[in-house]
């Protein structure tokens, strides 16, 4: 297993990552570089189809994608050596852009199984402690407790699915949370509740790092990013502070959607 001394602050290090669709010759990521430090909040914005979700899924280990070059280190360890479930147990959590419906499996049962899987050395999950914790997490996200008996995402509204993603995150308490468009589908009140929930988790664990993917500045008013990156055509073409999000809100991506601009990393008209 390749690992190198972990710098104190870096939790995730993506180096020149290129990736394609596993079953066809379709390149999606064309050299992504990104470092995320402990406790940092990074946001990625970018036009539809630029590769944001692909990056998120590759971090989680989705079998549809194949890394063709570069590497990803998580806590100093080669991420690609870990299977999907091992990555989760190592502390990566992906809040899905499109959460999957699992008919017949209750949220409570699912989360109990997941949390049990996260315990080490055959430690037995205390069912009463679990129920208390789940109740508390649900009330933090202002979810009715009856939700725990509903089947995972089955027949949920778009907003309910997103809130359910954050419930899972709040139960599993990852070291790195990748949130793919968690804000889309949430109404204004729900967005605040979810954002407050995420901020609570950060208070509980200031070392938790977050990679947010979003199209809208609005979410970033509630969850304040330390860095904002712009992804175009499978590359991060610009990185900077929160001011980038405000610029994009105003001007859109027109300055970036040109191959010349992408390779130089500088907006054409800047």
């Amino acid at each position: 297993m390749s690992s190198e001394p972990m710098s104190d602050t870096h939790i995730l290090k993506i180096e020149s990552l290129e990736a394609k669709v596993a079953t066809e010759n379709l390149d999606i990521l064309n050299g992504v570089n990104l470092e995320i430090g402990k406790g940092e909040v990074h946001a990625i914005m970018g036009p539809n189809g630029s590769g944001k979700s692909t990056l998120a899924k590759i971090l989680a280990g989705h079998p549809s994608y194949e890394a063709t070059a570069g590497r990803v280190l998580f806590k100093g360890q080669n991420l690609f050596e870990l299977d999907v479930d091992e990555r989760s147990r190592a502390g990566i959590f992906l809040a899905f852009q499109y959460p999957v419906e699992i008919p017949g499996v209750s949220i409570a049962n699912f989360l109990r199984t997941a949390l049990q899987a996260h315990l080490v050395d055959e430690e037995e999950l205390d069912i009463f402690e679990f129920t208390d914790m789940l109740t508390e997490r649900m009330s933090m996200l202002e979810m009715d407790i009856s939700f725990a008996e509903r089947h995972v995402n089955d027949g949920f509204s778009g907003g309910e699915k997103k809130r359910n993603e954050i419930l899972q995150m709040a139960v599993l308490r990852p070291t790195l949370a990748v949130m793919d468009e968690t804000d889309s589908g949430l109404d204004i009140d729900a967005l605040k509740i979810v954002a407050n929930g995420v901020n609570k988790l950060t208070e509980e664990d200031p070392e938790m790092s977050i990679l947010l993917i979003t199209h809208y500045q609005r979410l970033l008013n509630y969850i304040k990013p330390d860095f904002v990156h712009v992804m175009v055509d499978g590359r991060l073409v610009r990185s900077g502070g929160p001011e980038i999000a405000l610029e994009l809100e105003k001007d859109g991506y027109k300055n970036w959607k040109d191959s010349g601009a992408v390779s130089s990393g500088v907006p054409k008209t800047a």
Partner: protein, 446 residues
């Protein structure tokens, strides 16, 4: 076995003198019935794959009738310590019950029933005892209205050769709060065993009945035949559950018919987990106005197990309803056949009839054939049928694994969720847990 011998199905063990031996101590009406059934059996050709209803189960290949002998087993004492360990374990898992019956190798060795229910006139006994103590009840209903020998080759064979069975009678207005639990054990390899169930629920009575059959694996093919007759009179509520957990080497064959009179509700759940070959013929007859039947089925196959369900929903009277849901998961090289028909007679206006069969294939070698059918002769009806055969959704697996579940745990959860829909519709205490546990056992070998 030559063609003509196979077609007749008469062998060294299964023949007229075997019928005569059974009749020795029985009343005349029963002797006549057995002899009549045997004559029908001989006349009825063995079903072949040329028949639509047997297209996917080739008896010529699957059933070695000529190797079967009749049971030699003697009656085991009514003492649990003398019973097989697995049988006792299966019983222990059952929660509350109003009464029990234990059948070992075709003999009823134990029966009990709450005193209060006995006082109210409920009868739970072996068929033989019922024939002595309540002859007219049994004579009226045994192999007459529900599963007569005319029903087919196997119904005739069973009616001629049944060795013992279960009789359950619930008088009008008597309602049982907990199920009757029947546990059957087979130990003899290479035999043909014939059992029957007769349940008669009078007006406005209520009963649930859970019948579990199990065995170890058999070194030689063993044939377990079952005929189930259930009659729900007006406003009666009946739930029938059958859990089949026979070992490999078993050929399980069950013919079931339910008769629902006016305002009765008569629900069934067939769970098929064991045996090498399992064939269930179920006919739900909605005889009276507003009668209602929910028909549930659940199966999980592995190795080269073969399940064949042949169901029919017969709507005779107006305003009747039936709702069928059969779901199965198939692993390794196992195979399932579901053939279902909804028949609505011209007299059955305003019928609601639904039929759904869903299959989940867990391996590239597994196979499911689903053949839903409608035959509608009334014009004011609501009917639908649907069938699906799908594979485990890789996105669902990825989603669950991304929360830390191992591949096996993820598959287990998806499969149990898929099948759980059936169990959640008939949540009898103990049944859900038991069936879930057995499926988990099978999944852990996946």
């Amino acid at each position: 076995m030559t063609d003509s011998l196979f077609s007749k199905g008469v062998t060294e063990a299964l023949n007229f003198s075997a019928v005569e031996r059974l009749c020795i101590t029985e009343p005349d009406w029963l002797r006549e019935r057995r002899e009549h059934a045997w004559a029908l059996y001989e006349q009825t050709p063995m079903p072949t794959t040329k028949l639509e209803e047997w297209r996917y189960t080739d008896l010529r290949k699957q059933l070695q009738l000529d190797t079967l002998s009749l049971s030699q087993a003697t009656v085991v004492s009514d003492d649990p310590t003398a019973w097989p360990k697995r049988l006792r374990k299966a019983m222990k898992e059952d929660r509350q019950a109003s009464g029990h019956i234990v059948v070992i190798d075709g003999h009823v060795v134990h029966s009990d029933l709450e005193a209060e229910l006995i006082a109210k006139g409920v009868i739970l006994s072996s068929l033989h005892d019922a024939i002595e103590q309540h002859p007219s009840l049994v004579e009226n209903w045994l192999a007459t209205e529900a599963v007569p020998p005319e029903e087919g080759k196997f119904a005739a064979l069973n009616a001629a050769l049944w060795s013992d069975g279960i009789f359950l009678y619930v008088p009008a207005d008597v309602q049982l709060n907990t199920p009757i639990r029947v546990t059957r054990w087979l130990s003899e390899a290479g035999v043909a065993q014939f059992g029957r169930v007769l349940i008669l629920a009078e007006n406005a009575s209520r009963i649930s009945y859970v019948d579990e059959i199990l065995s170890d694996d058999f070194s030689k093919q063993t044939f377990a035949s079952n005929a189930v007759e259930i009659i729900a009179k007006e406003r009666a509520q009946v739930q029938y559950v059958s859990v089949q957990r026979l070992g490999r080497g078993a050929f399980y064959q069950s013919v079931q018919r339910t008769l629902a009179y006016r305002d009765a509700s008569l629900d069934t759940l067939n769970v098929a987990l064991g045996a090498s070959v399992s064939r269930v013929d179920l006919n739900a007859c909605l005889l009276g106005e507003r009668a209602n039947s929910d028909m549930l089925g659940l199966y999980f196959g592995d190795d080269d197990q073969h399940f064949d369900f042949n169901t029919s929903q017969d709507h005779i009277s107006p305003d009747t309803a039936s709702d069928l849901l059969y779901k199965g998961a198939l692993d390794a090289a196992s195979r399932a056949v579901f053939r279902g028909i909804i028949r609505v007679k011209p007299t059955a206006q305003r019928t609601d009839a639904y039929q759904t069969n869903r299959n989940l294939l867990l391996s590239g070698n597994a196979r499911a054939d689903s053949l839903p059918n409608l035959e509608i002769e009334a014009d004011d009806v609501k009917c639908s049928h649907g069938a699906t055969v799908g594979e485990l959704d890789p996105e669902a697996k990825f989603y669950l694994m991304s929360r830390g579940l191992s591949r096996i745990q993820a598959e287990r959860l998806v499969v149990l969720g898929f099948l759980g829909e059936v169990l959640s519709k008939l949540p009898l205490g103990g049944v859900v847990e038991k069936v879930t546990r057995v499926i988990e056992e099978k999944l852990s070998q996946h």
